[in-house]
């Protein structure tokens, strides 16, 4: 096969106000290959691809497409040149049909004026049969599953005649079954001569699918390797810049009484489907339960159901013997549940509030801060100064607005607030998402300190290494159910991965690597109610 270069990026640099998103990046993709780009959160992968696609203008650097230089191109230029991009966040219009989404912008017309609906439908059908992307062109996007939405995105790109496809984290939101199907499609596309650039965090996928891999860290490229000649470990080292697993000092757990007992918990999602099904969990005081799973398998709903933010349809949640099922969020908080939410900006902080005000969020009604409906401003500021000092939040100014803190410091703020006030149960959802290494270490140490102080911790993370490092016990969620449960340190990353992808799913009962004892979730729940 002649080695023609499809995409050639040289010295691409992009500066954002506070970050150097891409720092002199070189990327070379051969025609007809599947080229993976990997890197941690914020490494600059999406930015690089947006630059290639013409949605973001680089500050420096040059781009060549099939040997021809691209200068100041726009997204529509890229489309004309045969570039297509499936974005990390899908760009589909919910109330439109698949066909309408596909043809938008290049509509087939009758009499040069009206949209030719039949032609649009036929073209979509032809494309979907050709590449095995089964899709109903007349179905509205809002009725599609995520996997089908992604197919629509791919058809959209193919409709525009793309021969270079960029897929930004296509598997992050897919079920394992859907991932397998996607890979079939991508291989078929490669067979047809197309070039594919594929961004992912999952190293196994890279090894399985890609021909070559470019690894990024902190905005620069740390290596380009052939997938056949590397291992996940090697890739991970290149990604993070040192040994993969973070080593944290941890002592043996001293277990106490059960704190959280979740029993036969089910909940419905927006479309009326089960997002949680018969979930059983138990966490004792002084114990960390880690929940592993691919995003979108019910972890968010589980946390929300426990904290009163998502209504449950059946089952119960018990906190130290008190039934808290479907209580109001404030009531649950007041019973000693702290919660580091998975989405910092969406939930964790009020960006326009000052740091001091943010540090009061959720505690603001409590005695000491609030008296007869009045906020004790002096107390609020004193509280803020203490927490800022304890957690080294920078800059150390309680009056600055939280929007102006860096992501890591925002996360520290949330951790400071939620860890304060002696919780009995601590729920930490993606506690280190998008934060720098230093902050990660700080958060991990804080979580362990809480555990050692006898707090029950529910840790939800997409980062397997995080789960493996911190958890005393690990549960795996898949399709809204707990499919497996392990003692910490008794299971390998591969094995976990197998369950996470549904591969180890044998039946309704979760797999456990230890005999069910007296403290099995079901019985504990019954005991709690008695």
């Amino acid at each position: 096969m002649p080695e023609k270069i499809a995409v050639e990026m040289r010295g691409v640099t992009k500066r954002y106000p506070r970050v150097l998103a891409c720092d002199g990046v070189d990327l070379s993709v051969r025609q007809g290959e599947i080229h993976a780009i990997i890197g941690e959160n914020g490494a600059g992968k999406s930015t690089l691809m947006k630059i290639l696609y013409g949605m973001v203008r680089p500050d420096e650097g040059s781009i060549k497409l099939n040997g021809k230089p691209l200068i100041g191109h726009s997204a529509s230029d890229s489309i004309k040149l045969g570039l297509g991009m499936v974005h990390q966040h899908f760009m589909l219009i919910d109330p439109f049909t698949v066909a309408e989404n596909v043809v938008l912008g290049i509509e087939p017309t009758k009499a040069g004026l009206f949209i030719d609906g039949r032609a649009a439908r036929e073209r979509v059908e032809r494309l979907s049969t050709e590449y095995g992307l089964a899709l109903d062109p007349d179905e509205r996007i809002e009725n599609l599953s995520v996997g089908l939405e992604q197919r629509a995105e791919i058809v959209k790109v193919l409709y525009r005649g793309a021969d270079i496809l960029i897929l930004d984290e296509p598997t992050g939101v897919l079920t394992p079954q859907e991932v397998t199907e996607l890979f079939v499609v991508l291989r078929a596309l490669r067979e047809s001569g197309r070039t594919i650039i594929f961004i992912t965090h999952k190293l196994n996928e890279v090894i399985e699918l890609a021909d070559r891999v470019t690894v990024m860290r902190d905005g620069s490229v740390t290596g380009v390797v052939s997938a056949a000649e590397t291992t996940p470990e090697e890739l991970a080292t290149m990604m993070v810049g040192r040994d993969v697993l973070l080593r944290v000092e941890r002592q043996e757990a001293t277990l106490g009484e059960p704190v959280l007992t979740v029993s036969k918990l089910s909940a419905l999602g927006r479309k009326g489907t089960h997002v949680l099904e018969n979930v059983d969990l138990e966490i004792r005081s002084g114990e960390i339960l880690g929940i592993a799973g691919v995003q979108g398998n019910g972890q968010t709903e589980l946390v929300d159901a426990i904290t009163g933010l998502h209504a449950t349809s059946s089952g119960s949640v018990t906190l130290s013997g008190t039934d808290i099922t479907n209580l109001k969020p404030r009531a649950i908080r007041d019973l000693g549940v702290a919660h580091v939410p998975e989405d910092r900006l969406e939930r964790g902080i009020v960006p326009d509030f000052s740091v001091a005000e943010n540090l009061l969020l959720g505690h603001h009604h409590r005695a000491g801060y609030s008296h007869r409906g009045l906020i004790n401003v002096a107390k609020m500021e004193e509280h803020a100064r203490t927490l800022i000092a304890e957690h080294d939040i920078r800059p150390a100014d309680p009056s600055i607005s939280a929007a102006h803190l860096s992501g890591g410091n925002q996360q520290k703020l949330i951790v400071a607030r939620e860890f304060d006030g002696a919780p009995t149960l601590l729920i930490a959802s993606q506690p280190t998402r998008g934060v720098d290494i230093g902050a990660i270490e700080f958060v991990h140490t804080s979580i362990l300190k809480k555990r050692d102080a006898g707090v029950a911790v529910l840790l939800v993370s997409a980062e397997l290494s995080e789960i493996m490092t911190l958890s005393d016990r690990i549960a795996v969620m898949y399709g809204g159910r707990i499919v497996a449960e392990f003692e910490g340190g008794t299971v390998s990353e591969e094995e976990l991965g197998r369950y996470m992808t549904g591969a180890g799913d044998s039946g309704d009962e979760p797999v456990r690597n230890r005999p069910l004892d007296d403290n099995s979730p079901g019985q504990a729940a019954a005991g709690g109610e008695a």
């Binding site: 106000p17 506070r18 974005h87 990390q88 966040h89 899908f90 760009m91 589909l92 919910d94 939101v173 904290t307 933010l309 109001k328 969020p329 404030r330 009531a331 649950i332 908080r333 007041d334 919660h339 939410p341 900006l345 969406e346 939930r347 964790g348 902080i349 009020v350 960006p351 326009d352 509030f353 000052s354 005000e357 009061l360 969020l361 959720g362 603001h364 009604h365 609030s370 409906g373 009045l374 906020i375 401003v377 600055i400 607005s401 929007a403 102006h404 803190l405 860096s406 992501g407």
Partner: protein, 383 residues
């Protein structure tokens, strides 16, 4: 909860540091000056002297103690109406219904006064102030509730309720409460005990020669208290904290255990109460009865005032004073120059447009070092 509103979100004034703060304070000032310039150009274009135009305008407002009294009098209802908009804005709601709320507040005020003919002033005045606030609050609570409970956008509902309030009070005053034997669609005069005192006497006693006929009355003092109260509620009470939290980030508020629905309804209630207090000036202080259609858009002007005041209570006070100056001067201009008063409306409108545009420009300039937002919010919501 909190489904996306029918009309989307409101861009919020953002807090900015140091030099940014200065620039964002200066930008409305620059906008006002630019709007004056536009007005001057129009005046020149129709062949009149802009200098004379503005000198007449400012003479009307500042040329005499009487003029200054009129400025304060004209500013009073705008302070209330502006506070109503600004307060609701803090909870993320856009209350366009000040007009309707002040009609209902005023009607309830007049009605309560007529129902208590023998009551002494010490009783009647507080009762009427509360009645005014309650009337406005009640009217505002309806769209607030519909927003909180059904997610119906408050903008449409408050507009609808403006029309309904005008028709309803029109019906009540024309068909039921009209002063017998009179043509004017107005109620009878409220008892003297319910009247707020004019301030002329007080000012004369401290040697400020405010004429007896000047309509400035104690309602202005109530307005000043209301400014303080609005600030105090927002920044010093738990409720205010919750209102602002909901306004800035609804899902964070929900996560923090704040009852978002209740907070929205409370914010609207208080907002409507401020609008209803317009009655203290119009009914208790000045007209001493409810006159059909008396307002001619005070509620809508409140939107402009709030905007110009960047939705802060103190800002509302200053913006209302500016509009008071313009309205007072407008009459003078109308009578004593060949330029019609409508030009002042144009100046006010241009001011608002320049202020919002200026805000955005300043925000974008400042955003350079400060923005920490997601690159693509839309993408996030769609996926």
């Amino acid at each position: 909860m909190s489904p996306p509103g029918a009309l989307g979100t409101i861009t919020r004034a953002r807090k900015s540091d140091g030099a940014g703060k200065l620039v964002s304070l200066l930008s409305p000032l620059v906008a006002v000056l630019a709007a004056f310039l536009v007005g001057g150009l129009v005046v020149a274009a129709i062949g009149e002297s802009p200098l004379r135009f503005y000198s007449v305008l400012f003479r009307g407002a500042f040329g005499s103690v009487d003029g200054i009294g009129l400025v304060l009098f004209n500013a009073t209802p705008l302070i209330f109406a502006g506070l109503a908009v600004a307060f609701a804005f803090r909870s993320g709601l856009f209350n366009i219904g000040g007009e309707g709320q002040l009609y209902i507040g005023s009607f309830v005020c007049a009605w309560a006064a007529l129902k208590m003919p023998g009551a002494p002033a010490v009783l009647l005045i507080p009762v009427l102030i509360l009645a005014s606030a309650a009337g406005g609050a009640l009217w505002a609570a309806i769209p607030g509730y519909l927003k909180a409970r059904f997610g119906v956008h408050e903008v449409i509902n408050t507009i609808m309720m403006n029309f309904i309030a005008v028709a309803l009070t029109g019906y009540l005053v024309v068909e039921i409460f009209k002063e017998p034997g009179q043509m004017t669609p107005q109620t009878a005069v409220i008892p003297v005990a319910g009247e707020l005192p004019r301030l002329a006497g007080f000012f004369q006693s401290i040697a400020v020669p405010l004429p007896n006929a000047n309509p400035l009355n104690a309602s202005f003092l109530i307005a000043l208290v209301a400014v303080w109260l609005a600030w105090f509620i927002l920044y010093r009470t738990t409720l205010g904290y919750e209102i602002r939290a909901v306004g800035h980030n609804t899902s964070a508020a929900e996560y923090a255990g704040i009852n978002v629905r209740r907070t929205l309804v409370m914010a609207m209630l208080l907002s409507g109460a401020f609008a209803g207090l317009v009655a203290t000036n119009e009914i208790m202080g000045f007209r001493h009865r409810f006159l059909d259609n008396f307002s001619s858009g005070i509620g809508f002007m409140g939107i402009a005032v709030a905007l110009l005041g960047r939705n802060s209570p103190l800002g509302v006070l200053f913006a209302a004073l500016l509009f008071g100056v313009l309205n007072t001067g407008a009459l003078e201009v109308d009578i004593f120059t060949d330029v019609p008063r409508e030009l002042i409306l144009v100046v006010q409108a241009v001011t608002i447009i320049l202020v919002v545009v200026g805000n955005e420009i300043v925000r974008r300039r400042l955003a350079g070092g400060a923005q920490k937002r997601r690159p693509s919010k839309e993408g996030l919501e769609a996926s």
